[in-house]
Symmetry: C2
Subunit: 240 residues, 2 copies
DNA sequence: TTTTCTGACTGGTATAGACAACTAGTCATA
DNA sequence: TATGACTAGTTGTCTATACCAGTCAGAAAA
């Protein structure tokens, strides 16, 4: 609410967070007008340009909409938020109202094969972690997931993989996830997969391959997933 | 190149376009540093803040990247461009280097059933177009596509559907596409689908359902597609 | 030779003010 | 009753300036 002029955190950012907080807490409903730029400037005792910088960022993030001559309004649809939602399985399932769980099948350090090494932009035979997990929603097996992470990039502990998500460990190490590219294709379950997923052999499955990149441009992981086709739908929003 | 201070077009926008032009023409290669903000300001005889506004927009659009203490650089990967690429089958296949084609199976006006009416936000039994097409890439059948469009929204001509894309007809009618939500799931081909797609019955297929919305918020179409799983991979980029 | 420091560059943050463009209401006039 | 002029309020554009914070090369010191 109050901003700290002595803080090293930029003023515009503090204002940004203050506005976001009010929106998230529901104090400013979607569609309603927020204070004018001049009001903000006066209240926070900053210049109007600083307020504009904060508001601009929120407009770009899809939180607010400006209308010349009228004011600045809380965006109705929060498409932007989920639009590019690069979420983990855990977040994804929570959003759908399921109880997510994860069963660690194996965790080991192996040498990268040619294909994986190329995608992770490391040398052939460099060490990588291989994490195999079964993903559950409401205790029903949903997917088999194999993750490959370069060992030279980050040190992973098996104990942490088990309860927390990989992404939170990455963020704690000071890395930041930037973007991911995914490919999806339909296939049919092989024998071993059908056993684990508790479906018939030959049943439809969705193969998802994901490559995740950090803000420094380095690849963080390659993930191969096999989702059961009868229970999992992949949802996505796109903007023209 | 030269900007017009008497023009009603904002200076920052003129600068934006000038920079974009240089990038698109390849005068500034990706990865290379562009002029410093102070240089721009001096050359164009505007204030540095105005230059910053232009550059900020281009950074948000993914054209440029700033690095404190170093300079501003042309982005290597144009992630943003394809990031949210809501593309048609035609655009999609061209981008992959295939020759796209489309075979119109049927075009008729029918009454919307309950489910379609709900998604299109129209009344039950309102008239809709039903367009069935087979999509080909390099003359190989790739997908069966069924599109539903409210008849009250736009008048469609069969002759135009055949050669051009639906989207271009929509744009010509003065409507603008805003965003779409898609769901993807794996399934297996039914008898009729396997015949059309020239695959075995029970072979894996990718079911894609798309709902497209216009800038005025109204739903434009619902599309049900069946892609053959052995030939089609769905690619997507996402940002955290 | 190696290390340290300084200076000149880069973008990042912030100010105070000006005027333009647009919206919506008020009020006087035809 | 309508219409047009005015006015107060909004965001949009733009200026000129100041200082901060990284980066890097070359000068100065060890």
């Amino acid at each position: 609410m109050i901003i700290d002029k002595t803080s090293p955190v930029p003023l515009y950012y503090q204002i940004e967070e203050a506005i976001k907080l009010k929106i998230d807490k529901g104090e400013w409903e979607s569609g309603s007008m927020i204070s004018s730029e001049r009001e903000f400037a006066e209240n926070y005792e900053v210049s109007r340009m600083t307020v504009r910088q904060a508001i601009n960022n929120l407009v770009n993030d899809g939180y607010l909409t400006r209308r010349k001559g009228k004011g600045t309004f809380v965006s109705g649809k929060k498409i932007e938020q989920k639009l590019l939602g690069l979420t983990s399985f855990t977040e994804d399932m929570k959003a759908r109202g399921y109880k997510p769980a994860s069963k660690l099948v194996s965790f080991q350090t192996i040498q990268a094969n040619h294909q994986i090494a190329k995608v992770l932009e490391i040398s052939h035979n460099n060490e990588i972690y291989e994490i195999k997990r079964v993903r559950l929603a409401n205790d029903v097996p949903m997917a088999i997931e194999t993750t490959f992470v370069p060992a030279q990039l980050i040190h992973l502990q098996e104990s942490h993989i088990q309860d927390g998500s990989l992404y939170s460990q990455v963020e704690q190490a000071g890395f930041h996830i930037d973007y991911a590219t995914q490919s999806l294709e339909a296939s049919i379950a092989r024998e071993k997969e059908s056993e684990i997923l508790e479906i018939a052999k030959g049943a439809p499955v969705l193969l998802i391959q994901r490559q995740t990149y950090l803000t420094n441009g380095k690849p963080l992981e390659v993930v191969h997933s096999v989702y059961r086709g009868d229970r999992y739908k992949f949802m996505i929003d796109m903007k023209r």
